[in-house]
Every structure is written in C-alpha cells, then in structure tokens.
C-alpha cells in the first residue's frame, strides 16, 4: 500500500456534554471516569460487606471476627465470579431469547455486524425475542463474549438507521464493560442481603437463648454498640447499595447513548428510535425484575422516570441529550 500526502481529517463528534457538569468532555475521558467510578464503587461495596461481617462477629462472637470477614468477602467474591461466568446465559434464558437464524433474520444480523465493524469489536452473537414490544438488551462479560437480544417488534418498528442506533447503544454497554459491572454489583448486593438474613435469624434465635442463660453479666457496652450499629447497617445497606447501583445504571445509559451515537455517527437515528419506542402503545414485554436494568428502555414503561429508584433515565431526557450533540 503506497500512500500519498495526508488530507484533511474528518469531523469526529467525540466531544460530548457531561451530564453532571454540563461541560464539554471527550468520550474517552468519560469512559475513563466511568471505569474509575466502577473501581471506587466496587471497593465501597466490599468494604460495606466486610463492615457488616465484622459487626456481626462482634455481636455474636468477637474472637471469630477475622474468620467472619474472610467468609463474607469470600462469599461475595464467589457470587461475583458466578455472575462473571453465568450472568449472560441466565439473562438470555430468562428472557426467552433464541439465536437469530442467518436467513430469517438476515437484516438484523447484517446491521449488527456492520455496527460491530464501526465499533471495532468482534461481532456479538445475535438473539431474537418473540414479542411485539420494541426493546433490546445486551449481555456478556467482555466484547469477545458479547451477545445482543432484540425483540421482533423492534426490527419491525424501526428503520435501518434507528435499529443501528439501538444496536450500537447495546454494543456500547458491552464495550464499556457495563454488563460485567452490573452483574457483579448485583451479586455483591445479593451477598449483603444473604448476610442480613443470616444475621436476622442469628439475632432473633441467638439473642433469645443468650438472654435466658447469661442474663446480666454478658456482653458489655462494646457489644451493645456493635449490635445497634449492626441493626442500622443491616437495614440500610441493601437499600443504599441498590440506590448506588441504580445511579450507576442511569449514568451508564447516558454514556451508552453517547457511545452509540458516536459509533454510528448518527445521534438522530438513536433519538428517533427512542421516540418510536416511547410512543409504542401495544402489549408490554414481560420481563422478570432481575434483568430489567439490562434493557434498552425499562420494559415497564412508567419506570423510565427521573428519580433515585429508576434504572433508566426518562426517555425524553435521553432524546433531548442526543439531539443536542
């Protein structure tokens, strides 16, 4: 390949508006900030878990505190590893997705392969969900194991550019490692909830037996304080962890929209797709609660709202951000 003098650079819309500060920010910086936030949040979750385990140990048996913490963290790590390996197959199975047929779904497969080339990732496996409700989700721990599932309703409702936008959004989730992060975070929250339930039982039954045997002498002030702290943490930790997870999920929807627009160089396609999905008034997609956050828009329509408890930002907000790019 012999090449003459370089010509002018094409315009790349890789500078976007940061949703938090309103400042212009490069996509790469945004992605890097996202990764840092993931590490901080992951560390915080483990610390929260360890704190609960430690307080549990203090309340029950101070001598075994170290063992408790080790067991709790090991539990969380085991659950996260399980999520790392199996979350994708589970999500696909729960959603009733079947592998796309190369002939029957040629159009969808072509669109996906094209977008994958644009994104510079290996083409993900394509799955189809038989439902008239337009939606899609992505799963897979890294781009090499990516999978995208699309409802038949989506392929019928959208034109090519709009479908490209949605597929690019899903591919962005895989490329930004959102799926892996979300499933491992969910596993850690699961471990905290499990611990809470164990402690609850321990306090109800264990507490009763101790009162009867060692009435006045046992415990002491330290143990009492640990008990109070533990109860507070046990009540608050799962809620706090869930709120954090949802906040991250919302931020990542914006980032995936921006990345998707960047991959397709066409924010309008994605914005139009969102508008069409917003205006869809047919039967909703039945999705179990555990995997709703994975979808392009929350399958339960009224849950696409602003607020601490929603996994997705309001659709209109996403559209207006795309149209401002």
């Amino acid at each position: 390949m012999t090449l003459p003098e370089a010509s002018s650079a094409p315009r790349l819309p890789d500078v976007l508006t940061d949703p938090n500060t309103g400042r212009r920010i490069s996509l790469l910086d945004w992605q890097a900030a996202n990764r840092r936030a993931s590490w901080v949040l992951g560390g915080f979750m483990i610390a929260l878990l360890a704190a609960i385990a430690y307080l549990m140990a203090l309340a029950i048996d101070p001598a075994a505190a170290g063992t408790f913490v080790v067991i709790a963290v090991a539990l969380a790590v085991a659950q996260s590893l399980g999520a790392y390996w199996f979350a994708d197959r589970l999500a696909l199975a729960v959603s009733g997705a079947r592998p796309a047929n190369a002939d029957e779904h040629r159009y969808l497969v072509n669109v996906t392969e094209a977008v994958a080339i644009g994104a510079g990732v290996p083409p993900p496996k394509v799955y189809v969900i038989d439902s008239p409700a337009p939606n899609a989700f992505a799963t897979g721990r890294d781009p090499r194991h990516g999978a995208i599932a699309v409802t038949t309703g989506l392929t019928q409702l959208l034109d090519r550019q709009e479908l490209e936008g949605v597929v690019a959004h899903e591919m962005a989730h895989v490329k930004n490692y959102d799926i892996r992060f979300a499933s491992m975070l969910a596993a850690t929250i699961g471990a905290i909830v499990l611990l809470r339930d164990v402690a609850w039982r321990g306090m109800v039954y264990g507490g009763r037996s101790r009162r009867s045997s060692t009435s006045r002498s046992g415990g002491g002030k330290g143990q009492g304080l640990a008990m109070v702290l533990l109860v507070v943490l046990l009540v608050l930790a799962p809620i706090l962890a869930t709120l954090l997870k949802l906040a991250v999920s919302r931020q990542r929807e914006y980032l995936a929209d921006a990345t998707g627009a960047y991959i397709t160089r066409n924010p309008e396609g994605l914005a139009n797709a969102l508008a069409k999905i917003r205006d869809y008034a047919g039967a909703p997609l039945e999705v179990s609660e555990g995997v709703r956050h994975l979808y392009f828009t929350n399958p339960v329509k009224r849950l696409n709202v602003a607020g601490a408890f929603s996994s997705h930002p309001p659709i209109d907000d996403r559209i207006s951000r795309l149209r401002r790019m």
């Binding site: 390949m1 003459p4 040629r106 072509n110 080339i117």
Partner: protein
C-alpha cells in the same frame, strides 16, 4: 556516586518511555492495517455476490445493457486495484453502478417480487453498510496513528521507524443515500 544513580534512573525511565511509544506506534500501525483489511473483506464479498445479482436482474431486464456494462467495468477495476486509493476509487464506482442497477429495478414489479432478488438486495445493502462502517473505523485508525506520530514523543520515533502519515478515505456524498431500501416487512 549519587550522580551515577541519577543518570541510571533517568536512562531507565527514558528506555521505558521509548519502549512504550514504540509499541504504541506498532499497535496503531497494525490497527490501521486491520482496518484496511476489514474494508477489503467486504469489498471482496460484494464482488462475489454481484454476479448472482446481475444474473437475477438480467432475467427480467435483459435490455438494460448499459447498467450491466457499468457493473462489469467496476468489478474489473476492483479486481485490478492494487493500492488503497485504487481500491477505494473502484469501490466508489461499483457503489454508483449498483445504485443505478437498483434504481432501474424499481421499474420491474416482477423482479421486485422475486424472493432471490430481495435476498440479494438485502445482502448488498448490508455489505454497503459494512463498507461504510469499515471506512469510518479506518479513518478513526488513521486519525489515531497520525496524531501519535506527529505529536511528542511519537514524532521523534516516526522518522527512525520510517513512519509517515496515512491518508483518510473520502466518502462521496451521493453514496450515503444509495441504496435506500426498506426491509421492515422482511424482518
């Protein structure tokens, strides 16, 4: 004694930075080559699909000779192209020839109802689309490469490594609109 240590540390840092920059340039050069081969693969696939398409269309519109000639010419230019520039030029020619082929097919309802034709049409639309994306990825790779070899510290390595700026692929404006087909009912 401390001077020696300082000199050694500075040297070590310089060597590490050098290795890093060298590897970065090689990585980006590979990405550039890979980006080109992505385009090449799609161009070859398109050339493989075209004879089938031409045969199918001929069955209904044999007298549209000029259109078939243009496609054949573009195909010959594709197979003879050697440089990136020639390939890109021939690819643009082919895209335009195919655009006209699909335009005339609008006038033949029986052709448009042919299942084989519809399949080929979607296949070609898909390939065109992939070429567009591959080209975009190629230009991204060129941008990254050119940025690294023209900024510090990469600029000090580009000369000794014999690296010069790569060229962007220009996308002809009319190409973006061709071929526009709706497949909603098929999916």
């Amino acid at each position: 004694m401390p001077t020696t240590i300082i000199v050694l540390v500075v040297l070590a840092v310089l060597v590490l930075v050098g290795i890093n920059v060298y590897n970065r340039i090689v990585t980006l050069e590979n990405r550039y080559q890979n980006a080109w081969s992505q385009i090449d693969v799609q161009l070859k696939r398109r050339n493989d699909v075209i004879p089938n398409l031409v045969e199918t269309v001929k069955g209904y519109a044999a007298h549209e000779r000029e259109v078939f000639d243009n496609v054949a010419k573009a195909r010959a230019a594709m197979t003879q192209a050697k440089s990136v520039d020639e390939s890109a030029g021939a690819a643009n020619m082919m895209t335009q020839a195919l655009g006209r082929l699909f335009a005339i097919s609008e006038a033949y309802p029986e052709l448009k109802a042919n299942q084989n034709f519809l399949m080929l049409q979607e296949e070609l639309a898909g390939i065109e689309n992939k070429i567009a994306y591959a080209r975009q990825f190629f230009n991204d790779a060129v941008l990254q490469f050119n940025t690294v070899i023209t900024t510090v510290p990469g600029v000090f390595f580009a000369g000794p490594m014999g690296k010069t700026k790569h060229v962007y692929l220009e996308v002809p404006e009319e190409e973006k609109a061709v071929p526009q087909v709706s497949f909603g009912a098929q999916a």
